[in-house]
Symmetry: C2
Subunit: 286 residues, 2 copies
Amino acid sequence: MQIINKKLKFLIVGLGLIGGSYARALHKKGFYVSAITDNRQSIDYALSEHIIDDGYDYVNPTAVTEADVIIFALYPQVFVSWIKENASLFKQGTIITDVTGVKGCIVSQIQSLLPDGVEFIAAHPMAGREVYGVQNSDERIFEGANYIVVPTAQNTPEAIEICKDLGRLLGFSRVSELSPEEHDEMIGFVSQLTHCIAVSLMTCCENEHLVSYTGDSFRDLTRIARINENMWSELFMLNKEPLIRQMDIFIKECSLIRDMIATGDTESLKEKMRLSTKRRALFDKK
Amino acid sequence: MQIINKKLKFLIVGLGLIGGSYARALHKKGFYVSAITDNRQSIDYALSEHIIDDGYDYVNPTAVTEADVIIFALYPQVFVSWIKENASLFKQGTIITDVTGVKGCIVSQIQSLLPDGVEFIAAHPMAGREVYGVQNSDERIFEGANYIVVPTAQNTPEAIEICKDLGRLLGFSRVSELSPEEHDEMIGFVSQLTHCIAVSLMTCCENEHLVSYTGDSFRDLTRIARINENMWSELFMLNKEPLIRQMDIFIKECSLIRDMIATGDTESLKEKMRLSTKRRALFDKK
């Protein structure tokens, strides 16, 4: 069932890799898409590439008021500040959604800042790249990827359905639903822990000379070690407790496997490898 | 400079993914390639696909005697046993090389088992896949990959050059040289530690339901978690000390980053991320 109709006007606030990829996907589907971002070059690029219909490097009140669906693709704290400053501009009936990587610390806060009749339904597109900016945006990053809607008790069934419909419209392969708490625990494991591991691998020893010797295993495990330190340190600090919990679980398991090797416990090690192989088979992209 | 001439006859012992990929590469270049492996189906497949010229599912003495260059693509302990049983078959002047993932524990041992006039020069092709068997072999896995020659004081300059030439002939992008000790320390870090991390990520918690939510980071970090438990547990146990050393360094760094997050030390965390980003930029395939 398609709920979003072609007359809806989209506004994207924050035109980087993800905001730009949303804009491309929606514009290609024939929707009117405008954008607000603080970088004039990003707007000029997006206009010249026909990714957006209109764009502003300042908060244009008319663009906000005219939008039916507004997608925020900003860092979490900038997102909260933006809402605090501009909440009065939204028209009644506006649906607001986002792409923010942490939820518990912002969703209720944003919802409490909005006037009645303006609804925020959180979402997290599980897609990204180790490059940045609208210049690198590409709606194909959503193919085969997961899209998670993160509602609270404050959300209406209609807004939840619109948000899910948006995920399908953008081309995500799987659209699902988690509570903010479930989302943050999950993201602490699959995304934040993995980034901590990748960084640890790059920083734990001097390894530049290994370029001449390495195979793909090391390359794969460190692809995400090229990391935007401002965004990721903010995400980690805003999700400190779930992330620490997941890191402790991982470090404990890693130490256990280390001890199996140290004591020559081949059978237990093989058992771990069989479990690992069985579980990992599920995770290939379909 | 090309040292290997078209008249040289190659024998591959162990026709799996890597042995099969060597056979494909060499046969395409016009060399005579025979194979010995314990699986008749692998031989039949390789013959029908024109990957090899001749093949045997038993140790055919003529095939061994006629070979100028013999490549062993067996598990380390099976490799040592094979040499112990069949060393008398090699003709004078035969060059033996391998693809084994650990070196310190086998190279001197193999060299001491060989008759005078038969030289073993060790090598490690840093290429692989998470699938097995000659049916999955593909010489393109060597494109962009590293090939490491691992000589000892016993090796002649001629054999070292032949081995390097083989690496270039197979299509590797970079051919370099390490001592057995340097090799094992390096492999403990870039290959074995990364496999331990990938397995730990899959086994540290129940995570099958995360298929619906995960992004590419988790997929990338666990690609190698589909692991052949017999081969990898053998490799880990044969390289126990370097691997444990590398695991301890990694676990310590991971714990340090964990503590930075726990104490809110954003500046130190960003410093780690900047170092990580700078180093990782070197590792993209050229």
